[in-house]
C-alpha cells in the first residue's frame, strides 16, 4: 500500500504537523537527517505560501518507491485565485517588484530535485515536488535477502 498522508492547511499552526509528517516520511524512506531537514523546510515554504496568499489548502505527502531510488512526493494544493505569472513566481519575483530573498517557492524548488507549479488565474494552484535518494547495491542486496527470508 502506498504511504500517503494528507494535512489540511488553514493556519500558521498547520505548518507544524505538515513538517513533522514530512520529516517522518523522509526518515521512513531512508533519507539522511540533512535531507529530511531540507524536505521539512521545502514543505514549510509551500505551506506558508498557502497560508499567506490563499488562507486554505492541503499538503499531500506520498512515498515513492522505485527499483533504483526512493523518494518523497509533496503536493501542495489550494483553490485560491491562482498565479498570473507562473514563471516569475518560480523565479521569486513578487508582484511588480524585483526578485525576493530566494525563500518561498523558489527556495522550495532549489531544495528539491523535481518541482512543478501548475496554476491559472481563477483555478487555484498545485505545486508538486519530489526529493529522491539513490539506493545503493548494499541496500538492494539486503532487501532481496529480506524478501527471500519472508518467502522462504
Amino acid at each position: 500500500m502506498r504511504d500517503e498522508v494528507r494535512i489540511a492547511i488553514a493556519a500558521d499552526a498547520d505548518l507544524l504537523p505538515a513538517r513533522a509528517e514530512g520529516r517522518a516520511l523522509a526518515e521512513r524512506q531512508g533519507f539522511s537527517r540533512t535531507d529530511a531537514t531540507l524536505i521539512a523546510t521545502a514543505i514549510s515554504e509551500v505551506a506558508r505560501n498557502i497560508v499567506v496568499h490563499v488562507g486554505r489548502g492541503e499538503i499531500v505527502l506520498q512515498a515513492l518507491d522505485e527499483d533504483a531510488r526512493r523518494g518523497v512526493l509533496v503536493i501542495a494544493r489550494d483553490d485560491g485565485p491562482g498565479i498570473w505569472d507562473v514563471e516569475r513566481a518560480i523565479q521569486g519575483y513578487t508582484n511588480s517588484s524585483g526578485p525576493g530573498l530566494g525563500l518561498g517557492l523558489p527556495g522550495a524548488r532549489r531544495l528539491m530535485d523535481e518541482f512543478e507549479l501548475d496554476s491559472e488565474p481563477g483555478t487555484g494552484t498545485t505545486v508538486k515536488m519530489i526529493k529522491w535518494r539513490s539506493r545503493d547495491e548494499l541496500e538492494l542486496l539486503r532487501e532481496r535477502r529480506r524478501q527471500r527470508e519472508r518467502s522462504g
Binding site: 513538517r19 520529516r23 537527517r33 531537514t37 523546510t41 514563471e87 530573498l101 530566494g102 525563500l103 523558489p106
Partner: protein, 278 residues
C-alpha cells in the same frame, strides 16, 4: 529580528526548548529563526557564533554533553536551511550569468561566421552554410538533442534545411532531420513568437519516436526566421528527449539567433541578386 544580540538570545532559547521537548515545535522555531536571520541580513558566521554561545550556555546549565550535542545539531541544521536556500539561489544566479556570458560570446563569434557565409561563392551554397551554422549554434547555445533550421515556408524562397545533432543522439537526429515539421510550424505561425511544447501530439510518431519510450522527443522550442519586412521564411527548431528541457529564456536566445540568421540570409540573397545582375 533587529540584530545579532537578539538573534543569539532567540537561538539559545530554541536550543533550550529542543533540549526540554525534543519535538517539531522547537525545530520549527529554529527554521523561522533562520528565515528571520536571512531577512535581517545576518550571515552564517553570525549563526555559528550564536550556536557556539548557546551550546556553552546549555552545558553550563547542566545539560549532558551528548544531549547538548544532539540538540545543537538539530537546531543548527534547521536554522541553516534558510541559508541553504539562499546559497543555492546564488549558485543558480552565478550559473545563469556564466551562461549569458557564454551566449554573448558565441553570438559575437557567430556574427562573423554568418557575415562570411553570406559571401559564399553561390547563393545556394551560402544559404546552406548559413542554415547549417544556425542549426549548429542553436544546439551549442541552448543544448538539446537535435536542432533543425529550414526555409521555404513562404513558398517564394527555395526550400532548404540543415540539422545538427549530438553524436550520441544520431538516431533522434536522423529521424528529425528529414521529418515533416509542418504541424509544429503551424503552431509557431499561430503564436507568432516562441513556441514551447511537448511535440509528440503534433509530430508523426515515426519522427517523434515511440510513445512514452525514452527514445521519444518530449521537448521542443521553435521560432521564425523572417525577411527584413517581417515575413516568415522559415523556422529554427530545437528538440530534446528530456521533458521540459527548454525554458522561455531558451526561446529568447533562439529569437536572437533567428534575427542574426535572418539578416545573414537576406544579405546572401542580396549579394546573389547583385551578382546575377552583373
Amino acid at each position: 529580528m533587529n540584530g545579532r544580540a537578539e538573534f543569539g538570545a532567540a537561538y539559545a532559547s530554541a536550543l533550550t526548548e529542543y533540549l526540554r521537548d525534543g519535538d517539531e515545535r522547537a525545530r520549527r522555531t529554529a527554521y523561522e529563526l533562520g528565515r528571520d536571520a536571512v531577512a535581517a541580513g545576518l550571515g552564517v558566521m553570525d549563526v555559528a557564533e550564536a550556536h557556539h554561545a548557546a551550546v556553552v550556555a546549555a552545558l553550563r546549565d547542566g545539560a549532558s554533553a551528548t544531549a547538548a550535542a544532539d540538540a545543537a545539531g538539530e537546531i543548527f541544521l534547521e536554522t541553516l536551511s534558510a541559508f541553504e536556500m539562499l546559497a543555492r539561489g546564488v549558485a543558480e544566479a552565478r550559473d545563469a550569468a556564466e551562461r549569458e556570458r557564454r551566449h554573448a560570446a558565441i553570438l559575437r563569434q557567430l556574427s562573423n561566421f554568418l557575415a562570411d557565409a553570406s559571401l559564399a561563392a553561390s547563393a545556394e551554397g551560402s544559404t546552406h552554410e548559413i542554415l547549417h551554422l544556425v542549426a549548429e549554434q542553436a544546439r551549442e547555445l541552448i543544448g538539446g538533442a537535435c536542432c533543425v533550421a529550414n526555409i521555404g515556408a513562404d513558398r517564394e524562397t527555395r526550400p532548404a534545411r540543415a540539422a545538427s545533432f549530438a553524436p550520441d543522439e544520431a538516431a533522434v537526429g536522423a529521424r528529425l532531420a528529414l521529418a515533416d515539421l509542418s504541424p509544429l510550424e503551424d503552431l509557431v505561425r499561430s503564436l507568432g513568437a516562441v513556441a514551447l511544447d511537448d511535440p509528440r501530439e503534433r509530430l508523426d510518431p515515426a519522427a517523434a519516436g515511440p510513445g512514452n519510450g525514452s527514445a521519444a522527443v518530449r521537448s521542443w522550442v521553435a521560432v521564425h526566421l523572417t525577411r527584413l519586412d517581417g515575413r516568415p521564411i522559415g523556422f529554427i527548431h530545437a528538440f530534446d528527449r528530456r521533458p521540459r528541457a527548454f525554458t522561455p529564456a531558451d526561446g529568447e536566445v533562439l529569437l536572437q539567433l533567428a534575427q542574426m540568421g535572418s539578416a545573414a540570409l537576406e544579405r546572401a540573397d542580396l549579394y546573389a541578386r547583385r551578382a546575377a545582375d552583373g
